[in-house]
Structures are given as structure tokens and as C-alpha cells.
Amino acid sequence: MCRFEHHAPTTLEEVIILLTKFGAEARLLAGGTDLLVFMRHGRLAPKHIIELSKVNELTRIDETKDGFIIGACVKLRDIERNESIRRCYTHIAEAASQVGSVQIRNLATIGGNLCTASPAGDMIPALMVSDAELRIAGTNGMRTLKMEEFFKGPNETALSATEVLVSIHLPPPKPRTGGAFFKLGVRNAMDISIASAAAKITMSESSPEVVSEVKVALGSVAPTVILSRNVERVLIGKRISDALIEEAARSVMDEVKPITDHRASEQYRRLMASVLTKRALKLALQRAIGK
């Protein structure tokens, strides 16, 4: 592994001072399950490592009347096992539970998964359909970005070199709402997804068979995770049926821009995006009606 100096600040202010001082020579260490592998392979060779685990506000989950605030350094295993998250945002707990292995999830963090910004990052679709907002600290104070605004390309985010992701804010769960996440890999554990889909659906209060809101986000089928506009167009305001779900699922095939690589072909990914959309919508609907 490359040689570096290790810093373990205890406040956000110190983190930003260190980032400002070392600039491009520094990397933030959250769980390390990506960073240490990249360093091992020589893909990254930072001179300074700024470890975030000692900053208290990054490691908390707070349940407030305005929803949930999840610190960027909360472990995926703690998200998977948090009773409130499992109840209110089932699809987010589901996505967390499908990352890597128990060992990896005991180290890996939600913020790390977002900031690595892989098109296959499992937490991204689940948070994107949940209207999550990201709080970011920098030299000029705090700013807030929507999930869709955060990702700029494969492994590229809107964070500047002196900014740090602080927390993920989830709005309070709505009634008559359900969510689901599905991921396809060659095996269940320790695999990068070939395609993934998260769905969240809210049924109308006056006519419970009519869709009032719906979101579907797709992973591994474009340079970044994408939110489907077609699904919204097909479903919102309509009376839900299997045929309509089929139509919505087909509609995503025109939106995705997959590549062919050693994991899967472009055609297969396009088809799977549709299949996973259908499964996610069906399960989300079942959960919305069940509530």
C-alpha cells in the first residue's frame, strides 16, 4: 500500500481545514471498503488520509418530526438492522442488506456508497426514489442537494475538493406508500449488480386504486443511476393494473443507456431493467396497499 499520513479529526470544521490544507493529496476515509481496495490496486495513492469515524455527527441516525437524518458514516449493517428504517423505508433497508457481505456491511457506510458514485452503487436507487436530500459541508458553510443533482458521472459527484457529505435526510414516510429494491447479480453476495431497480409508489387517498405518486430508479444501466420519467408518465393518475405495470416496465427500456462489459451485455441489461422495474413496482404496490 502507498505511504500516507493519517488524520483523525473529531469535528467537521477540522475535516474542512484538513481538506483545504491538503487539497487533491487528501482522501476521506469512511468505511474503507472501496478506498483501501483502490489504494491496494494502485488506482489511488493519496498522501493524506482523513478518517471520518471520530466525527460524532457523521455516525448518528436521528428520527425527527421532519423525517430521518442518517449520518454519512452510518454503517450499512446498522441501516439494515434499524427497526424504524425497516418499517418506514423498507426498500432502503433492503438495499443496505444486499451490499457485499456481513463483514463488508460492518465497515461500509451509506455516505461512502454515495460518494464512490458507482453506477452500480446499491444505496443510490433506493435513496433516489425516497426524495432523499444530501447535506454537504464546505468552506462556505452548508448546502443541500437532491439525490439527482449529486451524481455527475461514473465515480464523479458534485462535491468539490474541500467539501464533505454530512448526512442524508429522508422526508417522513407518507401513508398508502410502499417501496421495494431488487438487484440482479451472478450470485447473491459480494457481487456488483448487473442491473438494479428501486420503486416507491403512493396511492391516492380518495380513490385507493389510483396512483398519486411513483418513482423508479435504475442502477448499472447508465453512466449514473437514473430516475425514470417514463414510469411516472405511464402510472400517475391512472387506475393500477397488471397491464399498466407491464407497460410502465416496458417504458424504461427506452430510457436506459447500458453498456456491454464482462458482467453482461447491453441487451441483457436493458431487458433486466424492465424485469426488475416490474418486480419492484409489484412489491412496492403490495406494500402500499397492505399499509
Partner: protein, 167 residues
């Protein structure tokens, strides 16, 4: 550059104070400083589970933890499970069920099993498979490993008077 840092680790119940390089990993300290070579290094990238140890009771790949990050933590390695000459009953179950072939994955398998049973004393086969999915056995002896975990769980099960069988 590369200024050493003093870290305190409690490993298998023994306190250690060590000056480590920032780039030393927990597995390096365990194997090369403390001589605890029961922890195996397989892939070095967190994929195989051979280097699994318990850190504050949670199973983690020790190849992906910097030694400096483990400062103040409690570490249990495979050497910390037995009580003197008395093997831990998970170790005993692995032997009795023939769940060990070449043995390279075994320390990680046993520690992942310990973490599972500490949390869930009555796992189903599916739960065992999921808990051990981060531990690869290239002798492919998974069936007997799952049997060993079931056998260990059965032995660990508290009796009606709250006392454990054979523990």
C-alpha cells in the same frame, strides 16, 4: 510523511500498546507484530473473508481496517476462542462435522459463525448461508460447514433452566 502512531488494542483479552505505521493494516499487526497467524490473508480486498476477525463483537475483514482505525477496539481472533486446551464448541463442531478441508478459510468461517450465533442463536439454513456468504471456501465444502454451524447452534442452545449444554 508516514509518522508512526501509538495505538492501543485489546486482542483476545490482552492489552497491547504499539507504534504503528499509518499504512499498516489490522491483519499486518495481528500476524507480524503479535504473531497471531491464525488470521489468514487471502484476497487482500475484502472479498474472501479469510482474514475475518471480531472487532467490538462485529465480524470484519482485517485486511480492510487500518491499524490506526482499530485504536481502542477489542479484537478477537481465532486464537482467542479456545479456553486453554479446551476448544470452543464451534471449533469442536467444525471438527466433528468434518467441516475442515485445507483449513485456510476455517478461522474466518468460525469467527463469522461466532458473530452469527451471538446475534441469532437459532439460525435457519438460509440465515447461515447469508451470514457466511462473505467467506469463500475453495475446497467447496460448504455443506459440512453449514452442518457444523447447525450442530454448534444446537449445542449452544440454552436448556429450560437457562444453563447452556456442554459450553
Amino acid at each position: 510523511m508516514s509518522i508512526t502512531k501509538r495505538v492501543r488494542l485489546r486482542v483476545n483479552g490482552v492489552e497491547h500498546e504499539l507504534d504503528v505505521q499509518p499504512y499498516e493494516r489490522l491483519i499486518d499487526v495481528l500476524r507480524y507484530r503479535l504473531g497471531l497467524t491464525g488470521t489468514k490473508e487471502g484476497c487482500s480486498t475484502g472479498d474472501c473473508g479469510a482474514c475475518s476477525v471480531l472487532m467490538d463483537g462485529k465480524v470484519v475483514p482485517s485486511c480492510l481496517v487500518l491499524a490506526v482505525s482499530a485504536d481502542g477496539r477489542e479484537i478477537i481472533t481465532i486464537e482467542g476462542l479456545a479456553d486453554g486446551d479446551q476448544l470452543h464448541l464451534i471449533q469442536q463442531a467444525f471438527i466433528e462435522c468434518g467441516a475442515v478441508q485445507c483449513g485456510f478459510c476455517t478461522p474466518g468461517m468460525i469467527l463469522a459463525t461466532k458473530a452469527l450465533l451471538d446475534e441469532n442463536p437459532n439460525p435457519t439454513v438460509e440465515e447461515i448461508k447469508s451470514a457466511l456468504s462473505g467467506n469463500l471456501c475453495r475446497c467447496t465444502g460448504y455443506v459440512k460447514i453449514i452442518e457444523a454451524v447447525m450442530a454448534a447452534a444446537a449445542k449452544l442452545k440454552p436448556c429450560s433452566d437457562g444453563v447452556q449444554n456442554e459450553s
